[in-house]
Symmetry: C2
Amino acid sequence: MNESSILQKILPIFHAGNDVAVPPGDDCALLEFGNKFLLAAADQVISNVHYLVDTAPELVAGKLLKRNLSDIAAMGGIPRWALLTLAVKGRSDEWMIRFFTGLEACAEKYGVAVVGGDLAALPGELDCASLTILGEVELEKVCLRKNAQAGDFIMVTGSLGDTFHSQHHLTFEPRLKEGRFLAENGLTRCMMDISDGVAADLPKLLTESNAGAVVELEKLPCRNNCHWKNALCDGEDYELLFTVSEPNRQRLEQMWQFDTPVSCIGRIVENKETVYTLNGTAVPNLEMTGYEHFNS
Amino acid sequence: MNESSILQKILPIFHAGNDVAVPPGDDCALLEFGNKFLLAAADQVISNVHYLVDTAPELVAGKLLKRNLSDIAAMGGIPRWALLTLAVKGRSDEWMIRFFTGLEACAEKYGVAVVGGDLAALPGELDCASLTILGEVELEKVCLRKNAQAGDFIMVTGSLGDTFHSQHHLTFEPRLKEGRFLAENGLTRCMMDISDGVAADLPKLLTESNAGAVVELEKLPCRNNCHWKNALCDGEDYELLFTVSEPNRQRLEQMWQFDTPVSCIGRIVENKETVYTLNGTAVPNLEMTGYEHFNS
């Protein structure tokens, strides 16, 4: 059983209320609340799954919050509040204080207030930390996986791959400014974050958009000159994957104001297949599943 | 180290934004969002801490959601949405489907939509499930721990104690209707839920209200004729503890429309000490710490 297959069984179990503008399946849920729209997502980190047990607690807390911030970025939103639950055993008071101090430092940096949570003891010697992020976005600016159109360029921010050895999976910057800029300026309405690798995440966007893609492997921005297979499959990039129309690509290149690079890695096509090419030649039978957090 | 002592160190670490009307420390945070106020809380359940490992998965999921609903009830609020993270190992597909089906059944019963979450694998053979509940309440109706006044009666809903052997800790009804009724009719502005036992929870209310109490032990509504010590200390009651003024107590008795009993167990006093009496005689040196979820 892996995460994708069990999610396919689980997601249809839940009903969505009338006030749920975007149900589970995108990077965040979009919830109508009074005269505004709330973004909500939850994610977790577990010792020896998402970080080594001797990782500095500030980095663990930061990774947990930033993973969630990356989901807000992917919707073109602004983060507001976070709630945390932490279950630990075998951690000192000092570890706990450092964890929460690191969480607050990261929260302040990105304009988030930590407003609630719970602490519990685990029976086993490990940590399990869960965080819910709340944010906001305008209904007319929200970026969804389903909005890709045939002909759109497929873009990514930053570099991809080699995320574990480089420590990128701990030290990354969630692309909040970049995501908000794209949404605010109407440069895209189709975005997600890359957490499981392009090879695993792009198909989710294509399925929702009922489309296919041609991906040019030589255009992948490879971190530390890693192989394109790593850029495609390592996961934990926490970069933005988005599409832009031809006129918007020109606007994007003129308007882009960030140090973060933006790369075009391919195009959306009508045909629902996804073709990977290397210097113009199709690369067949690419077995790319990306990173699965859930393998029991 | 226990939960209370570590929380005393952790809570001051966090800043509260201007939009946080009630910061961590009450049953929920109260967040200003557009023209309305959002309630938010997070809680978790862990196998062999909060339930035995062979408990029916529907009951586990229900307990997790209902613990959180009890926090919404305690604020006088209405629940809206939930987000879940689940980390498991050694659970079958069937267990997972039953867990999520049970969660949805419970969510539908109480008018909640499950709108997001995450699944992950744990390295150890245990389950760790975390849930964030979102709800709403009017600013002028919200019930807070700090609002007790000297002279108020101390009230509890339902019965207390013997919560583990009776299975009450799994089968309880969160007091949403009762809590909302009290808030909506202005019968109280001071409420919390009893999760750690009156002996551990009442002092939190008294500290916030800068007050003391006289508790008449013989008035505790003891589940299954359990000893008053159990009613006071067992925890996991998920009943409402609230205060009412003298005129409101009369209104409450006239207006109360639920099968759930309401008992007066004492009064708020100005003197910050808490005195426990049994048939008029003070019971000294009552060592009552209630239930601590966090003992590492």
